[in-house]
Symmetry: C2
Subunit: 190 residues, 2 copies
Amino acid sequence: MYPPTWEKDKASAVDRLEEDRRIGYLDPDIYDVLIEFMKVDSLFTKSSCSGRITIIDAEFPWNRKDSYVLFKNHFPIIKNDIQEVVKQKAKATLWLVTQGPILHVYAANEQVAWNLLKIARNVGFKHSGILSVNYHGAVVELRTGIKITIPILDNDIRDKYIEIANNALILGKNKLQKLKEVVSLVSTRD
Amino acid sequence: MYPPTWEKDKASAVDRLEEDRRIGYLDPDIYDVLIEFMKVDSLFTKSSCSGRITIIDAEFPWNRKDSYVLFKNHFPIIKNDIQEVVKQKAKATLWLVTQGPILHVYAANEQVAWNLLKIARNVGFKHSGILSVNYHGAVVELRTGIKITIPILDNDIRDKYIEIANNALILGKNKLQKLKEVVSLVSTRD
């Protein structure tokens, strides 16, 4: 069964994706992946991130309130990229955070959602789950376990920190490519 | 609707909980919380963790293979607890990891599972989801966003690292207490 709103919702999501790409709002390395989802009748994507390295000033890296993003990049970094940023005096603590890819996917119904989850977990998206089921379909969050949070103390950014962040980021990007390759296996009809 | 196996499965889970407690296998500060789940007709718990601080030797903190746990504690730590451990030469990288509470809960059916998720998310278990639905019920994972992963370089454990780890651990324990207080609100019938 497809929700009555499905075709309209999906068309809006495709339009939005193209617009986000055009205005440069989309992570540059995720377009190809999202297009693979759009090709499957029973799926479409919403807000998604290909994985990124950030530097934030916050008490804890999961905080949203009183948290300031000082640097953000979807590709590996070099020390020079962040040397000025980490010189800043932190209000709380400076954190070098590496986050793996996170995708939000609408599935036409719960069977499709479970099928997608199984396929995604198989290629390393192990922290995935169904966020909600409503009139518009089932919302699935696909995420890996990839997350590194390093406090930068005394403005001392070590070469090893950058190496760890980059390697973790690349692991996430590789999992995203694997996901792209298997999305077409999701059943289009239940 | 309750699964036909429900009463038997739940009785086994309660027996197991009591046995784990008796032999000291259970996290000492989670028994009271799990008992609150057991009091609700439509719920029982399986493997659960109240939150902990570990030191592991691994390339990445999420690795299971080629990963060695050198230290584990469910309560705040002092420098003396880990000073010897961090002097060891790492095979890969030493990580000081703080993990918030993670509970695995069986719900009698999906409606109960969604109801539990809503209540748990409200008290800070925001990374929760339904892991699977089968003949025995729906398996729900309840977890917060609390996780800190700090690489210990050159065997240099900083006081600030311990402060961060302890504060994050305590935040998790507080969320677990809040969860304990609201579990009874989960509907016992759908």
